[in-house]
Structure formats: structure tokens, C-alpha cells
């Protein structure tokens, strides 16, 4: 009965083309407008390099969207994707047009501080070795700090949650040291540690450590006592209770802690790089501002936004894999 229904709908499907809607057409228009304004509207003060390149890119994007919209009726997946993305494509096309008009074309926004799109592209073309090097140094510093902080936070959280003797000593330390913004300790750490790099690793680790510890602890402390009873009647030893009951049960909390810790680590990283470490994206931002190279600053900010967002996405991916048993967890 149901299989008959299924074949019927399958047979009927090709007769009815998949609808893509009129929005992709608007997206094509928006990007075409962006391209034409960039290419033909006279510049306000000076002619920016790469203007034609950006215009060509915008027109190419318009053509690409148009072609996809023409092909889409044959592929359900593509049509769905296009329908979903169309409002954003329209908005971005309009935003680029407006950005171009406000900066390069009409000069409404004061010039050195607000850079037109082509200058950002130019930065990526001309300064990519330095940007890449900064990104690499930032990643190294952040990675060292976050991994150390997460490991020690996890161990501390489980210990406090499990053993009241350890809790007696660690809890006051956590309460006094944890809430202090780790950036406030920066000047102190710069002369206590042998190098500004090690001081920064310590501070990033500290910023990650606090939320990971608190949430791991609360996760372990809030495990349903009945879970322990079940395991104990089945012959479980304390090690089993910690590693097979307490930790898996606390894992959802641990991931919230890691999420918060990662957020805190970003700001510590940038401040540390601005104040002492002579490399990294934070240093690049500072350097760009010192030279009034605002386009470089925007370009670096964009790189940083993408990198941070990528890290958080990766964390959520890991969580979704490890916590597949959970239903309806927050999506990133």
C-alpha cells in the first residue's frame, strides 16, 4: 500500500518542475548593480586600485547565481539550497553596493577610517604573507593556552566535584582567582614569566581554565545519584564510577565550559598580542592602526572573525559527535 503510494509520487515528480522562486533573480540584480556601480560610477577623490577587479568579481557572482538558478529546477537539493540562501545573497549584494557608494563613490563616510571593499581585497593580495604569519602565530599561542587550560580545568573540575578533600583546597583558589579578568594580570605576568610568550600562554590558559573548571565541577556534582547506585549494585569500583559514570554524565556541561572558555581565550589572546607579544593577529591590528592602515585593520578583523567562528564551529562539531545521544542540543 505505502510502496504503491511511493512509486506513484515518484512517477509524478518529473512532470512537476521544482520551483526556485523569484528571489534568485533579485539576487542577480543586486550583484549586477554592485558590479556596475563599482565599475562605472566615478570615484569621489581618487581612483582605487583593484576597482575593476572587484567589479568583475561582482558581475561574475551575478552570472554564477543566474546560472545556478537556471539549473536548479533539475535538482531538488540545489533548488532548496538556493531558495534558502537567496535572501542573504540579495542583502549582501545590496550591502556591497551601499558600501561602495558610501566610501569610494560619494565619500559620505570619512575616508581613511572607512575603506571601500577594493582596498580590503588589495590588502589580501599584497599583504597575505604577513597576515598568514600573524594568523599562524596567533593559532600557536591560542592553541597552547587553550589546550593547557582545558586539560587542567577538566582535571580540576572532576577533582572538586568528586573529592571533598581536593575541593577544600581548590575551591577557595577557584573563587578568588577565577573571576579576575585574566587581562588584569597581564602586567604582573609579563615580569614574572621569562618571556611575554609564556606569560600569554599562562593567561590564555587561565582564561580557559576558569569556566571549564566551574562547569565540569557543576556537571559532576549534578549527576543523578541513582546512576551511582545502579553501577555500585552491579559491582563498580570507584574508578569506574568516575570514568564511566561521572565524566560521561558531566560531558554536556564540560562542553558549555569549553565554549565559554574559548570565548574568554580570544579576548585574552588579542590583548596579550597587543601589549607584549610581537606577532599574531592582535599585533597586526595594533600595527595597522599605528600606520593608519585602516584597510589592513578591517582585513585582519575579517580574518579573525572567520578564524574564531571556525574554531567555535569545530568545537560544536566535536560536541555533536560525542553527545549524539542528546536530543535537541543547541545548534551553532
Amino acid at each position: 500500500m505505502s510502496s504503491a503510494d511511493l512509486t506513484q509520487t515518484q512517477a509524478a515528480a518529473p512532470a512537476e518542475p521544482i520551483r526556485v522562486g523569484w528571489r534568485p533573480a533579485l539576487a542577480v540584480l543586486a550583484w549586477l548593480a554592485a558590479g556596475l556601480v563599482t565599475r562605472f560610477y566615478p570615484d569621489f577623490t581618487r581612483h582605487w586600485p583593484l576597482t575593476d577587479g572587484v567589479a568583475n568579481g561582482e558581475v561574475a557572482l551575478a552570472v554564477l547565481i543566474g546560472m545556478l538558478a537556471l539549473v536548479a529546477p533539475r535538482s531538488e537539493r540545489l533548488a532548496q539550497r538556493l531558495r534558502y540562501l537567496a535572501p542573504w545573497l540579495i542583502a549582501l549584494g545590496l550591502a556591497f553596493t551601499l558600501w561602495e557608494l558610501l566610501t569610494a563613490k560619494l565619500g559620505i563616510l570619512p575616508m581613511p577610517f572607512f575603506a571601500p571593499p577594493q582596498t580590503l581585497i588589495a590588502v589580501y593580495f599584497n599583504d597575505w604573507p604577513r597576515l598568514l604569519d600573524s594568523l599562524w602565530h596567533s593559532a600557536l599561542l591560542l592553541g597552547s593556552g587553550v589546550i593547557l587550560g582545558a586539560i587542567f580545568g577538566f582535571i580540576a573540575g572532576v577533582s572538586i566535584g568528586w573529592s571533598s578533600a581536593i575541593g577544600y583546597w581548590l575551591h577557595p583558589v577557584l573563587r578568588i582567582l577565577g573571576p579576575v579578568p585574566s587581562t588584569a594580570l597581564l602586567p604582573l605576568c609579563f615580569f614574572l614569566f621569562p618571556s611575554s610568550w609564556s606569560a600569554s600562554v599562562f593567561l590564555i590558559a587561565l582564561a580557559t581554565w576558569f569556566p571549564v573548571t566551574v562547569l565540569t565541577w557543576s556537571g559532576v556534582a549534578s549527576v543523578d545519584k541513582a546512576y551511582y547506585d545502579v553501577a555500585r549494585t552491579l559491582g563498580a569500583k570507584p574508578g569506574f564510577l568516575i570514568f564511566r559514570v561521572a565524566i560521561p554524565a558531566a560531558l554536556p556541561h564540560v562542553f558549555v565550559g569549553l565554549f565559554m572558555g574559548l570565548g574568554a581565550s580570544f579576548s585574552t589572546l588579542v590583548v596579550a598580542e597587543m601589549m607584549g607579544v610581537k606577532s599574531g593577529i592582535g599585533w597586526y591590528l595594533q600595527w595597522a592602526q599605528g600606520w593608519a592602515a585602516y584597510a589592513n585593520m578591517y582585513a585582519a578583523l575579517l580574518v579573525m572573525a572567520l578564524a574564531c567562528s571556525g574554531l567555535i564551529s569545530a568545537l560544536f562539531k566535536v560536541r555533536d559527535r560525542l553527545l549524539a545521544w542528546q536530543k535537541g542540543a543547541v545548534k551553532w
Binding site: Y227, V230, T233, L234, G235, A249, W325
Partner: protein, 259 residues
């Protein structure tokens, strides 16, 4: 069928003598059990009935070894009960399956905790088959209905081949149809495995259908008020006049009159 049948695991003999226990709330002791004495023979099915909150579940926790008793003797096969042991397994009112483990891994919990899982994986499959859930081995606990979850909890207990199965209102939260089906399953499993069973329930009818002997407790602190032998073979019928008459007697003992 007969060839597959193992020698039934002989049940545990339980000896409880003059057992008293109290909770400590804000420093003042609140007695929950008072001079409870009870002997359970190997392979016997004993039901504990009493007003809610009278301390029956506390008695089960003491028998399971989850808490030490304040005063009195508690012995399994003549040995004092001093802590939990996989020969005495509890099935709680809530299935308390671990949500991060699939059904199979939940059932495997005891064998894993005892460190024998890798050698004895077929026992897990066999326990799942006993409760008719083989197809759900890879499911997550959240995907199960209440009755299925409780059957997984039962399999998780049975895989350890307990000599004493402690049932703390295991069917209390199930709908009435699932309850009836699971009462039948409990009887069949008990008859097949030969363990001693100790059941706490609020349902007089359930006690009458399942138990060889019913112990009626008083209000807290719990004392044994009466012992009733149920002399009927299994499977029993709900409308058996003998059971109906016993039901009236028990309700009278509980102060509920002819309900």
C-alpha cells in the same frame, strides 16, 4: 529449549533479624525501620506492601548493601551483607538507564564494571533476548517507551545472573496494559532463573499475582504487621476468588477497608 536451559542459579537465602534504621534530618533521628525480622528462602518470591513512605525502599537499599544498617543482622546465605554485590541486583522504579550508552551498552554495564565483558559478550545478547529487545540493541535510551526502558533495566540486572533480584516498584510508573504484560514476564523470568525475588509494590493485586508470600508493613517506622502466604500456582488469575478474598484482607490490614 530444554538443551539451552542452564542449571538455574540457586537463589540466595536472606536472613534479617531485628533490623532497625533511622534517617538523620537536621541532627534528629527519624526512625524508618523498627525491629524488622524476616527470613526469605532460596528461590522464594516475597512482596513487601505498606503505606507509601513507610520505609520499604530503605529496607531494599539495606539489603542491596547500598547503605549500612544502624542496628540488627542482615545476612545472605549466612554471610553478613556489608556492601553492594552483583549477586544482589536492584531494579529501581525509574529505569535509570545511562542516556549516553546505547541499549546494548547499558545491559553490558555490570559485566563491564566487573571487568569480564570482553570474554562474555554473548551474555549481553542473551539478556536482551530474554526481555525481547534484541532489535533495539543499537537504540538510544531516549528512543524507548517507558515499558521498553524498564525491560532494558531488567535485562541489565539479569545479565549478572543475580541470586537475589531486588525490585523497587519496578512497574510503578508504567501504564496498566504494559504493567500486566510485564507482570507476566517477571513471573516467567523468575520461574526460569530460580533467583530469590524481593518486590516492593503499592499494588495489592500485583503482590498477589507475583508473590509466594506478602509482608504487610505498618506506617513509618515500618514494622511487620502481617505475613500472608499466597498458596496458588502460576500463572494466577486476577479474578480467582481466593485472591480476591486475600485482597480484601490485605486492604483491611492497610486500613483501607473493603475497597
Amino acid at each position: 529449549m530444554v538443551a539451552l536451559h542452564k542449571t538455574p542459579n540457586p537463589g540466595l537465602a536472606l536472613h534479617i533479624d531485628n533490623l532497625s534504621h533511622a534517617f538523620h534530618l537536621d541532627g534528629t533521628p527519624l526512625p524508618v525501620l523498627e525491629n524488622v525480622s524476616l527470613d526469605v528462602e532460596p528461590g522464594e518470591f516475597v512482596a513487601l506492601l505498606g503505606p507509601s513512605g513507610c520505609g520499604k525502599s530503605t529496607l531494599l537499599r539495606l539489603v542491596a548493601g547500598l547503605e549500612p544498617a544502624d542496628r540488627g543482622t542482615l545476612q545472605g546465605d549466612g554471610q553478613p551483607i556489608e556492601g553492594p554485590d552483583p549477586t544482589r541486583v536492584v531494579v529501581f522504579q525509574d529505569p535509570t538507564l545511562y542516556p549516553w550508552r546505547r541499549v546494548w551498552d547499558n545491559v553490558a554495564l555490570g559485566l563491564q564494571a566487573q571487568g569480564v565483558l570482553s570474554a562474555q559478550r554473548p551474555r549481553v545478547d542473551a539478556a536482551l533476548a530474554k526481555v525481547h529487545l534484541t532489535e533495539f540493541a543499537r537504540a538510544w535510551p531516549r528512543q524507548l517507551s517507558g515499558g521498553m526502558a524498564q525491560r532494558v533495566a531488567l535485562a541489565r540486572a539479569l545479565v549478572n545472573e543475580p541470586r537475589l533480584l531486588i525490585l523497587d516498584e519496578p512497574l510503578g510508573k508504567l501504564d496498566s496494559l504494559t504493567r500486566i504484560a510485564m507482570q507476566k514476564e517477571l513471573i516467567e523470568l523468575w520461574q526460569r532463573q530460580g533467583y530469590t525475588a524481593l518486590l516492593v509494590t503499592h499494588d495489592v493485586e500485583e503482590a498477589l499475582l507475583l508473590a509466594n508470600r506478602i509482608i504487610v508493613f505498618s506506617e513509618r517506622p515500618a514494622r511487620i504487621r502481617a505475613e500472608i502466604r499466597v498458596d496458588r500456582n502460576y500463572p494466577r488469575k486476577r479474578d480467582d476468588p481466593y485472591l480476591v478474598q486475600l485482597r480484601g484482607e490485605i486492604l483491611g490490614l492497610l486500613g483501607l477497608g473493603e475497597a
